[in-house]
């Protein structure tokens, strides 16, 4: 996978993950073009399209579009299910995920994605294992949050 974009029906970008080195300018251009292309498509159309020399796989969940760019040799259907599994992970973590969860907890959305996909490839496809990793991290955070009360002025550096 070359990149993944999440954007709203209004075309607002909610998450972007790039697995190939591109300049910021290129990223913006690609995003603009793709958001436009995908939003222009009608509901019953197929989820795949050719775009430049890549294949775009996208799916809409409520108000959010999930859109992946894969290479010629990559499998469209399994990519569609990568999207679905990511949505399941978000859903499980946030409990009925909605767009607002991703806006306000964008860093969490990135952390979950990194546990699931790394370098554009599936790292761990088991829902249980991904969530376990995230929850462990949260536990670490919570125990540390409690520490904070007493260490408000703690100088780390």
């Amino acid at each position: 996978m070359q990149f993944m974009l999440l954007f709203s029906r209004q075309g607002k970008l909610r998450l972007q993950k790039w697995y190939v080195p591109l300049s910021d300018k290129e990223k913006k251009k690609i995003t603009r073009e793709l958001v436009q292309t995908v939003l222009a498509r009608k509901p019953k159309m197929c989820s795949f399209l050719e775009w430049r020399d890549l294949k775009i796989v996208y799916k809409r969940y409520a108000s959010l579009y999930f859109c992946c760019a894969i290479e010629d040799q990559d499998n469209e259907l399994i990519t569609l299910e990568i999207i679905h599994r990511y949505v399941e992970l978000l859903d499980k973590y946030f409990g009925s995920v909605c767009e607002l969860d991703i806006i306000f907890n964008f860093e969490k959305a990135y952390f979950i994605l990194d546990e699931f996909l790394l370098g554009g490839e599936a790292q761990e496809t088991s829902k249980k294992n991904v969530l376990k990793a995230i929850e462990q991290a949260d536990l670490l955070q919570e125990s540390q949050t409690e520490d904070w009360g007493g260490l408000a002025n703690d100088e780390i550096l």
């Binding site: 197929c46 989820s47 795949f48 599994r85 860093e107 790394l118 496809t125 955070q141 408000a152 780390i156």
Partner: protein, 962 residues
């Protein structure tokens, strides 16, 4: 605020995000952001050291601002500081910031790498994973340099946690993709391959991506993965849906891993080990069988996951292309999908069938679905699906169904989406040409294309139809009739006018017998379109008009009137004006014979790769073109050249001869003698370019004893002049001659007084002369280099040539019989009072009359054997005079005029050529073999010919060339 408060909510961040969301306008948003940036900047710069939490919060705000699309140019240092925090939450935000906003600041990179190094060696798996994620996300060269050595160790170490192994595998993959030179697997290779056997499915899933990528680059080193992959796949495929617990996805066991395993196997040929292969075939059969079983769930996720594996299995079957049974089953399965209610499946089935169509085993099976595919083209609501259907029709097309497919594509074009029209046009044009049984169908198809989608018919397409019509005399009359009819339409596309103009200009005579398409009617029809056309089209029409004057003398006055009117002769466009002036002049001063020569029918175009095919390739990239065509492309040498531009050619051919330089008159164009042949003795011929036309006008028939008859369009030497005092040829003239054996253009001779350039066109005549004859047009440019005056010896031409002027002389030469000696060119002029007398050999050698002959290896050897008498062979072994560069050799052999035959000689280093020399007396077949020996820097050249003198002469000529 959402209800979620997992982990630590950063209140300040949430408030900021809410503020941004509440902004009513873009301006308000920018204002709020600038305020926040100023605040953060002052906090970072402030005297009071920030605690970790605040630092994390501000870095997170910066990240949010960046993700909104604003530029962030500070905060990197604070993020790097967070990396070395021992609090997970701070470290995590630090890494996220670095991953998203990496900066190439070298000082920073050093600090980041340092922090990563610490985390990697921390033995804390969560920290190690964070560090590995960061490397994988950034993937920069600096990181590869720092960590490419360390990560393989982590990946294969026995005590590494599974989750860390997973991250390490994909981290390494990312580094390998960016800096393959830095990732050296070497000693780790076999241990990495054995990760395919790992107990943990997650480890296998991650590792297989790495192994696949490495296998693509180093298939031999990783080939042990094949049997491991097959057994893993076999275990998954045969497992019950519950066996794999959490790796089962909607009742499908390990779909991601299955797809990746099938993908990995596509890096290799079918397994050689019979047992492994048997097991794999069994897997593939099971996958195909499962597709027929009733679904275990109605959820789309179930069928998607199942079908993802199925498509990957079909891709592998197509990749092997060796199991007819599986290929046909795959095709049938895809056939079912063609009518599936899921658009996605129809799309993928069409796509996958496209590749099946190119396999000989399944081509026929694919063809049985033609009606469904045509229906898809007509009824699919999604343009991307229709595009796939069009691609598939193109792929499944062959001689048996070409007419149907082309007809369907044409009718689809009428309503096709604009986005795919140009490609459709190209495809129709290619199919029509490739599978044309009769060329009238081809012409009809292309003209229909122009009628239906004229705007999308690129130049290549209409150039091509003209090339084909010119090259095939059986279709010319039909083409003329059809364009004439097409032009009757009240509104026709400009491309139609171009084709019409060109074809009527060349072949209008073929339909002129019918009073309904008499010359004047044709002209008036074309001219009625003239004023609506763009400049290039009008230029083409003007060329058509001058051709009309030649074809139909009765149209001369009408056309001259058109050329003479102000809108032409004073046209503000230089090209149009020049053509009008030149054509008008040409039509009024040139005799009919000169006109006939200058405006002769265009010679056939050299056969080469179809320019439109090349265009399609360029448009779609190589992936889109079937294997056969690609090979074709390779054989032809890729870059195209079918981009022969007939439109221009006409102009060049016409304008070369009508260049309005005073020298044209100077050379006596007005009193030009018609074809006249100089008698030839002893095989050499003197052409005195500047001699008086005089007695040459006597239509001295071809001298039967001569080998060559040389006819100049302007004048040629009467015998008396020749015998007068021709200088002996220059001593270097043989050497000069040798330079032109393999090329046609260049400077023949140069001294301080003049320069003689040669531009030759060797063409086979189609029209007036029998096919066995060739015309050679030599254009001699004589440029006087210094400020001198040239006194041409004989009048009636203008006796003075200004210094720096150019004089053109056109000589037509036809080969009557084979010859060894080149004709002599004798130039006499007076300079500074002294008579200059210069004799050169005209670079006309026997090979100039070659017509290339393509033949198969079998035919070649059969003919080679037939020419086995000793005198039919000439052989020479000689030392290389030039570097032995294959491409240069090829170019030279092609320049020789023969066809260069691939795959004939079993030794690929050798070159084999074949050609036929066309003379009036006979056709002389020649076969050539050149064997370079790079070590000895020697060549062995062997020629066999039906005529011994020819073999000998060619051998002599060629041995000087390499």
């Amino acid at each position: 605020m959402p209800a979620v408060s997992k982990g630590d909510g950063m209140r300040g961040l949430a408030v900021f995000i809410s503020d941004i969301r509440n902004c009513k306008s873009k301006e308000a948003e920018i204002k709020r952001i600038n305020k926040e940036l100023a605040n953060i900047r002052s906090k970072f710069k402030g005297d009071k050291a920030l605690d970790g939490y605040s630092k994390k919060k501000y870095v997170c705000k910066l990240l949010f601002i960046f993700l909104l699309g604003h530029d962030i140019d500070f905060g990197h240092m604070e993020a790097v500081n967070l990396l070395s925090s021992n609090k997970y939450t701070e470290k995590q935000i630090g890494y996220l910031f670095i991953s998203v906003l990496v900066n190439s600041n070298s000082e920073l990179i050093r600090l980041i790498n340092n922090a990563i190094k610490n985390d990697l060696s921390s033995r804390n798996p969560t920290f190690m994973c964070l560090a590995l994620h960061c490397i994988a996300n950034v993937g920069s060269r600096e990181m590869a340099e720092a960590f490419a050595g360390e990560i393989p160790r982590i990946l294969v170490a026995g005590d590494t946690m599974d989750s860390v192994k997973q991250s390490a595998a994909l981290c390494l993959l990312r580094l390998y993709k960016t800096s393959p030179d830095l990732v050296l697997m070497g000693e780790w290779t076999s241990r990495v391959v054995h990760l395919l056997n790992d107990q943990h499915m997650g480890v296998v899933t991650a590792a297989i991506s790495l192994i696949t990528c490495l296998s693509q680059k180093n298939p031999d080193e990783f080939k042990t993965c094949v049997s491991l992959a097959v057994s893993r796949l076999s275990r998954i495929v045969s497992s019950a849906s519950t066996d794999l617990q959490d790796y089962t996805y909607y009742f499908v066991p390990a779909p991601w891993l299955s797809c990746k395993l099938l993908r990995l196997l596509q890096c290799y040929p079918p397994p050689e080990d019979g047992a492994v292969k048997g097991r794999l075939v069994e897997c593939l059969e099971t996958i195909l069988n499962k597709a027929q079983e009733p679904p275990k769930s109605k959820k789309v996720q179930h069928s998607n996951a199942k079908n993802a594996i199925l498509f990957e299995a079909i891709a592998l079957i197509i990749h092997y292309d060796s199991e007819p049974n599986l290929l046909v089953r795959a095709c049938n399965q895809l056939g079912q999908f063609l009518q599936h209610r899921e658009t996605n499946l129809r799309y993928l089935a069409l796509e996958s069938m496209c590749t099946l169509a190119s396999s000989e085993f399944s081509h026929e099976a694919v063809k049985t679905h033609i009606e469904t595919v045509i229906n898809a083209l007509k009824t699919e609501r999604d343009v991307s699906v229709r595009q796939r259907a069009a691609d598939l029709l193109y792929a499944m097309c062959d001689r048996s169904n070409a007419k149907q497919i082309v007809a369907e594509m044409l009718s689809y074009l009428e309503t096709a989406d604009y986005s795919i029209r140009e490609e459709m046009v190209l495809k129709v044009a290619i199919l029509a040409e490739k599978y044309a049984v009769d060329y009238s169908w081809y012409v009809d198809t292309i003209l229909n294309l122009i009628r239906i989608a004229g705007d999308y018919v690129s130049e290549e397409v209409w150039y091509r139809v003209i090339q084909i019509v010119i090259n095939r005399d059986d279709v010319q009359g039909y083409a003329a009739k059809t364009v004439f009819e097409a032009l009757q339409a009240p509104a026709c596309h400009e491309n139609m006018v171009k084709v019409g103009g060109y074809i009527l200009g060349e072949f209008g005579n073929l339909i002129a017998g019918d009073p309904r398409s008499s010359p004047l009617v044709q002209f008036n029809l074309l001219h009625s379109k003239f004023h609506l056309c763009s400049v290039p089209t009008r230029a083409l029409l003007l060329s058509a008009y001058i051709k009309f004057i030649n074809l139909f003398p009765e149209t001369k006055s009408t056309i001259q009137e058109v050329l003479r009117c102000d809108s032409q002769i004073r046209n503000s466009d230089v090209e149009l004006q020049q053509r009008a002036v030149e054509y008008l002049k040409l039509s009024s001063i040139a005799s009919t014979d000169v006109l006939a020569t200058v405006l002769e029918e265009m010679p056939p175009f050299p056969e080469r790769e179809s320019s439109i095919l090349a265009k399609l390739k360029k448009k779609k990239g190589p992936g889109a073109v079937s294997a056969g065509e690609l090979e074709e492309g390779k054989r032809e040498g890729g870059e195209v050249n079918g981009a022969e531009r007939p439109g221009d050619n006409a102009a060049i051919a016409a304008s070369n001869a009508s260049t309005p330089s005073p020298s044209a008159d100077l050379l006596g164009l007005r009193s030009a003698a018609p074809v006249s042949a100089a008698p030839v003795s002893a095989g050499s011929l003197l052409v005195d370019v500047f001699s008086e036309a005089g007695p040459a006008a006597s239509t001295a028939g071809v001298n039967d004893d001569g080998f060559l008859s040389c006819s100049s369009a302007l004048s040629s030497a009467p015998p008396s002049v020749v015998s007068e005092d021709p200088a002996p040829p220059l001593p270097e003239s043989d050497e000069l001659l040798n330079k032109f054996v393999c090329k046609n253009n260049g400077v023949l001779f140069e001294n301080q007084l003049l320069q003689i350039g040669i531009k030759s066109e060797y063409r086979q005549n189609l029209g007036k002369l029998p096919n066995t004859l060739r015309n050679i047009v030599l254009l001699i440019f004589i440029a006087l280099l210094n400020e001198i005056l040239l006194n041409v010896q004989l009048k009636p031409v203008d006796p003075l040539v200004e210094g720096g002027a150019q004089v053109q002389q056109v000589i037509n030469i036809e080969c009557l019989s084979d010859f060894s000696d080149a004709p002599l060119l004798n130039i006499k002029f007076r300079y500074g009072g002294a008579l200059q007398n210069l004799s050169l050999k005209l670079p006309v050698t026997i090979n100039k009359f070659f017509q290339p002959t393509e033949m198969s290896s079998h035919d070649f050897f059969q003919r080679w054997k037939q020419l086995s008498q000793p005198q039919q062979e000439a052989q020479k072994i000689f030392k290389a005079n030039h570097p032995m560069d294959t491409e240069v050799l090829k170019a030279k052999l092609l320049g020789l005029g023969t066809a260069l035959l691939d795959n004939v000689d079993p030794n690929p280093e050798n070159f084999v050529c074949a050609g036929v020399i066309q003379t009036k007396a006979q056709q002389i077949g020649c076969l050539l073999r050149l064997e370079p020996n790079a070590q000895a820097q020697m060549y062995r050249l062997t020629l066999r010919s039906s005529k011994d003198t020819v073999a000998k002469r060619l051998c002599e000529l060629l041995s000087e060339q390499f």
